[in-house]
C-alpha cells in the first residue's frame, strides 16, 4: 500500500484493568480520528468492560469468533451490546457488523465435528467478512511476536486475513478458505467456503 502509515499504541491493561476511563478513550479516539483513515481498536475477548470501552466509538465492528459454543455465545452477547451500548447505537444509527470466523477446519466441519460456517451465520445473522483456517503458522507467528501476514504472507491464514482486509475495504473477493497445499494441486484442492 503506498503512503501507508501505521502507528501502534499499546494499551494493554497489564498493570491495572481499570486504567482506561471512558472519557480518556473518547479523547484519544477523537484525536486519532483527525489524523488517520483507519483506527483499529483491538478488544479483549469476552464481554467485560474492556470490550465495551473498545467498541464504544466504533463505526464498524468485526466480531471474531471460533466455531465453538462458548465463542459463538459471547459473540451473540457482543452483537447485542454493539446494537445498544455504542455511541452510534445511542444516536439511533446502525453500526456496521462483520463476522470473522477463525480457527476453522473445513475437514472437521464437513465431517460434522465442528460447527459449519452456515451454522454460525444462521445463529449470529451478521455478514461474513472472512474465514481463517486453523493453522500451526499462527502460533509460530505469535511466538515470534509478528503478525501472521508479516511472518509468512503466503501461508493459508495470512492469505485469508488479507482477503478479509480487501473485503472490508469494499473489494469483491470470492469467499474461499485458503489451504496450505502448494503447487499444481493448490488450485484443484482449494475449497470453496462450506
Amino acid at each position: 500500500m503506498p503512503n501507508f502509515r501505521r502507528r501502534s499504541f499499546a494499551t494493554s491493561q497489564t498493570r491495572d484493568k481499570d486504567a482506561l476511563s471512558e472519557e480518556g478513550v473518547s479523547r484519544v479516539i477523537d484525536e486519532l480520528r483527525q489524523n488517520f483513515d483507519w483506527i483499529i481498536c483491538d478488544s479483549p475477548a469476552g464481554i467485560e468492560r474492556g470490550a465495551t470501552l473498545a467498541m464504544r466509538h466504533a463505526d464498524i465492528a468485526i466480531v471474531v469468533a471460533n466455531p465453538e459454543v462458548s465463542s459463538v455465545r459471547d459473540s451473540d452477547r457482543i452483537i447485542g451490546l454493539l446494537d445498544s451500548k455504542t455511541r452510534k447505537a445511542e444516536k439511533g444509527e446502525r453500526i456496521e457488523k462483520h463476522l470473522l470466523l477463525t480457527r476453522y477446519d473445513s475437514g472437521r466441519a464437513k465431517r460434522g465435528e465442528m460447527l459449519r460456517t452456515e451454522d454460525v451465520l444462521d445463529i449470529l445473522s451478521i455478514p461474513l467478512l472472512g474465514i481463517i483456517p486453523e493453522s500451526q503458522e499462527v502460533l509460530r507467528a505469535s511466538n515470534l511476536g509478528q503478525p501472521i501476514v508479516a511472518s509468512n504472507a503466503t501461508s493459508a491464514p495470512a492469505r485469508a486475513y488479507l482477503d478479509a482486509v480487501r473485503r472490508l475495504k469494499g473489494e469483491t473477493v470470492a469467499m474461499m478458505i485458503p489451504s496450505n497445499r502448494t503447487g499444481v494441486f493448490a488450485k484443484l484442492f482449494r475449497q470453496r467456503a462450506a
Partner: protein
Amino acid sequence: MSLLSFLRRRGSAPVAHQRLQILLAHERAVIGQSDLITVLREEILAGIAKHVRMDPEKVQVKMERGDVVSTLEVEVEIPLNTRLAAPIGKA
C-alpha cells in the same frame, strides 16, 4: 457399540448447534430485556395503564432478531371483566 459410539462421535457439531440455539433463545429473552426491552415494556405498560386496568405482571415483550427484519412482540393480558379505567389524574 462401536458403530453407535462412532456415529455419536462424528455428530457433535449438530449437538453444538442445537445447544447454542437453546442457550441463545434463553439468553436473548432474559438478557435482552435489560436494555431496550425493559424501557419499551415500562412505556407500553404505562401507556396501556392509562386506559385499561391490568396486571403489570401479565405483559410480555419479546424481541426476535432476524436477518432482514426484527420483530417486537407485545402480549398484554386483559382480564375479562375489565372496564376502561378512569384516566389517571396528572400527578
